[in-house]
């Protein structure tokens, strides 16, 4: 097996391990998002749109720096997207395996498209709108594995376990008692699957079609690797057999096999291996005229147009109705489901940084983080929101804040995270079993980790009814999750009063605003002194008792 294949396998394995470890409880204090931080497009797009230097993206700087020396080694050796596409190519089109001989050549303009799209996206990033999520290979592949493969794998594992256990029960053996596998579920599967049907389907046309013609991170690296220090060189032994040209997965070798399109070459070293006369080497010395360029001079104007078009598109989206500015600006339409994870930056900064990789959603132990559809506009597509009806945001968990590669969700300690209020619970009295139907129910009170819901007597009702103390509610959604009402729940979390801080302590800000999120298990105070009845009902029964 070639060295490159071994490295690829190791890297894909590492990527999957890190993705697996992005879970609650977090075993690795950092590093689960390492691969996402290597993506050059994430670096360029996010730094431009967030208008700040993001130290966390240093690995991408290193990848770009190394590509000046080693060429696009990242594409052939490290990128999990590239490896996955190699696997898909092999599975889907074994007969055409790594050969481009029989295919009609693509028109020349196809090769320029990815550069145009890259400049378009960088143009929109200049205006503060990040569209990186549409094309970042690491973001896309994390979404595929995290939001599609992991749930399906868990489902299969769970079914297998139950089958196995059922069979063991027949023989009276107690096998793996009490182990159960949670199967996460995600919204917006069609988006991820649609993208990957297209990406993998292109294998029919040529190997690594995505990497050749679409990948913007690849395009960015290609710009840096137009003449890498270590590059493909062919010496005089070449017999012009053309084997290397036909087998090059990137179609980087010219009709004349002595000449290479270095920006397309991903340094997979296949040409070195297949050469019958060992004429191909990757060294820093060699003859001249081995390179063929694109002649960007001709397309320079198009690239400028692409930047301008990207910027204009960003301007349009800035005037969209769903675009949110500051939290206190009047006239903004905030969708009721727009409950961001705890520690999420203020909305414009959050969207500028979030690359929709889905790492936070994969890591979320309660499955409450879901990709949002178009409710908050196209520029917010697939960004994470808390979905309390699916699961509560566990107060003692801070995993999503720890695995975000770009800092769109600020890294918070557990004690700080509790103060990062995400919203406020509101009771919809017309749906509530107690308020509307005058029947016993107390679940919201029972489950609230902050004791923000209390049952009190109300005039005209025989049962005690719930009230929310908004200054104790941090929006975790335990109440909404457990509310037994079907359809829209009778107690729902709204984005109201969410704390979105760019910097500084959530705790201080929350206390300053008069919030008090004492977890029940940490609160030793005796709250008996607090009023247990509504004014005017002092003589009524304790909650839950009857005459």
């Amino acid at each position: 097996m070639r060295f490159q294949r071994v490295i690829q396998a190791v890297m894909l394995g590492m990527f999957l391990c890190l993705l697996y470890l992005a879970a609650y409880p977090l075993v690795l204090p950092m590093g689960t998002e390492l691969f996402l931080r290597m993506d050059p497009l994430v670096l360029a797009g996010t730094v431009l749109s967030a208008r700040t230097v993001i130290a966390a993206l240093l690995p991408a700087v290193m990848v770009i720096g190394l590509s000046v020396i080693l060429g696009r080694f990242f594409c052939s050796h490290i990128c999990p997207m590239g490896t996955t596409i190699d696997l898909a190519d092999r599975l889907l089109c074994p007969e055409k395996e790594f050969s481009t001989k029989s295919l009609p050549a693509l028109p020349a303009w196809v090769r320029i498209v990815k550069y145009l799209v890259l400049f378009f996206i960088l143009g929109s990033a200049l205006m503060g709108i990040s569209l990186v999520f549409l094309a970042s290979p690491l973001s896309l592949i994390t979404r595929l594995y995290g939001l599609i493969i992991v749930p399906v794998g868990s489902l299969l594992a769970s079914m297998g376990l139950n089958l196995l256990r059922g069979a063991a029960d027949l023989f009276g053996i107690s096998l793996l008692p009490y182990i159960s596998i949670d199967v996460p579920r995600y919204a917006l599967q069609w988006l991820v699957i649609g993208i990957f049907i297209a990406v993998f389907g292109c294998a029919v046309y040529s190997p690594r079609f995505w990497c050749r013609n679409i990948c913007l991170a690849g395009a960015l690296l290609a710009l840096c690797a137009r003449k890498p220090l270590l590059r493909r060189r062919v010496d005089e032994r070449c017999i012009n057999c053309g084997v290397c040209r036909d087998l090059c997965p990137m179609e980087a070798i010219d009709e004349d096999p002595l000449r290479t399109r270095h920006q397309e070459c991903i340094a997979c070293l296949r040409c070195v291996k297949v050469c019958p006369v060992e004429a191909v080497t990757f060294t820093y010395r060699g003859r001249k005229r081995e390179r063929i360029g694109y002649g960007f001079s001709r397309d320079r104007r198009k690239l400028v147009y692409a930047v301008v078009l990207g910027a204009c598109t960003a301007l349009v989206s800035l005037t969209g109705l769903s675009r949110l500015k500051g939290p206190d600006e009047p006239g903004q339409i905030v969708p009721s489901g727009l409950i961001r994870p705890p520690g999420a930056l203020p909305e414009p900064d959050f969207l500028a940084r979030c690359i929709r990789c889905g790492q936070c959603m994969k890591a979320c132990p309660t499955n409450t983080l879901q990709p949002i559809s178009l409710a908050a506009g196209f520029t917010a597509l697939a960004s994470p929101v808390i979905t309390p009806a699916r699961g509560p945001c566990e107060p003692l968990c801070n995993v999503c804040t720890q695995v975000c590669p770009t800092g769109a969700i600020r890294a918070l300690s557990v004690s700080e995270k509790i103060w990062a209020r995400v919203g406020t619970a509101v009771i919809l009295r017309h749906k509530c079993i107690a308020w509307e139907h005058d029947r016993e129910c107390l679940i919201c009170d029972e489950v609230c980790p902050f004791d923000a819901v209390s049952l009190k007597r109300a005039e005209g009702l025989s049962v005690s009814v719930p009230f929310v103390d908004e200054n104790r509610c941090n929006g975790c959604g335990y109440c909404e999750y457990y509310c037994p009402v079907t359809g829209r729940k009778a107690i729902v979390v709204e984005p109201m009063n969410a704390l979105r801080l760019e910097s500084g302590s959530f705790r201080d800000a929350a206390i300053e605003q008069g919030f008090s999120f004492e977890m029940r298990q940490t609160s030793q105070e005796d709250r008996q002194g607090q009023e247990m009845h509504l004014p005017g009902f002092e003589d009524s029964l304790p909650p839950g008792f009857t005459q």
């Binding site: 029947r439 107390l442 247990m532 008792f545």
Partner: protein
């Protein structure tokens, strides 16, 4: 062991026969009962009238949690009159909240450990401590799991996956006729309820009867489809613990079930064969929100009494107390 033990054991066996009584066990019991009957009829075993005093309906022990739990069970004739050698036992404590014992939202781990040890001493083949908690299970069951670790792994479980439950008809129910119950409970011979005594903002108190909701998969249906108190009683027509041990060493007198609320230090364990009587005794014995309440003021207790599930008229029952 006296005749009363045998009768009650036999009767409860028969009531619980759906929990699985092997033919062999049944024949043995029949034979023993026949023997006791004949001996008793001859007036040889115990003098007439002694039966009534021998075993109280309600046992109340005061002291440290572990020793008091043991003393209370001993007043009822010892664990041997509930757990036969080789039987499978499920203990249902309240471990639904991620808080320490001082908050009185969960059963004291020492009480559970003592009950576990007693079951082992009685020769139980399998003992499981089970609940279906509300908060992340690992945080909730931590204390009790640590306390019971000496008895082996896997003994304390919070079951959330539907795989561990089985759809079950509740034949004696009025409204709530069908639910998914833990397979381990269906498969057991003896169910022991070990709730903590606490107030409950919707049903007044949460004791042994309310605690049975921790053995089923879907509780929310009990709230939205049925009247909660009726549904609790319906559930208790099927899930009838043979022994109830209420941990009232700390009583969460206000703001239950989750607290934080006023915690009364009562150092009391209440045990009974009758879940309604045990719950009623606990209601009567302590202050709730600073007031004395009557068991009939708790709807599920009064409904259970009316439907003959047990007796809430504790003043007419025999209560025995002990200090340890």
């Amino acid at each position: 062991m006296n005749s009363r033990d045998f009768f009650s054991a036999l009767i409860s066996r028969e009531q619980d026969s759906r929990h699985g009584l092997t033919r062999r066990e049944f024949i043995v019991l029949q034979a023993k009962a026949a023997f006791v009957f004949s001996v008793n009829a001859a007036g040889l075993l115990v003098p007439a009238g002694a039966c009534a005093d021998a075993v109280p309906d309600i046992a109340v022990a005061r002291g440290r949690p572990g020793p008091a739990a043991r003393a209370a069970v001993n007043l009822l004739g010892g664990i041997g009159s509930f757990v036969r050698p080789g039987s499978k036992v499920v203990i249902k404590p309240n471990m639904s909240f991620a808080r320490g014992p001082e908050s009185a939202t969960n059963t004291d781990p020492e009480v559970v450990r003592e009950l576990f040890a007693m079951c082992r001493e009685a020769g139980a083949s399998k003992v499981r401590v089970l609940d279906h908690p509300l908060r992340p299970s690992e945080q909730c069951i931590e204390g009790i799991r640590d306390a019971c670790r000496v008895f082996g792994d896997n003994t304390v479980q919070a079951l959330e996956d539907s795989f561990f439950y089985q759809e079950t008809q509740l034949p004696d129910a009025v409204k709530f006729r069908e639910t998914d119950i833990m397979k381990d409970v269906l498969d057991s011979d003896v169910l022991i309820a070990a709730p903590v005594a606490k107030s409950h903002s919707s049903t007044g108190v949460s004791l042994s009867m309310k605690g049975m909701m921790g053995l089923i998969l879907n509780r929310s249906v009990m709230h939205w489809r049925y009247d909660l108190s009726t549904a609790i009683v319906d559930l208790c027509t099927y899930l009838k613990p043979r022994l109830v041990v209420i941990d009232a060493t700390r009583v969460l007198s206000t703001n239950g079930p989750g607290g934080p609320g006023k915690v009364l230090k009562e150092d009391t364990i209440i045990a009974s064969r009758d879940m309604v009587a045990a719950d009623a005794a606990a209601v009567q014995m302590f202050e709730w929100y600073g007031r004395k309440m009557h068991p009939r003021q708790v709807r599920h207790i009064s409904i259970a009494h009316e439907r003959g599930l047990g007796r809430m008229d504790v003043e007419n029952l025999v209560t025995e107390k002990v200090q340890v």
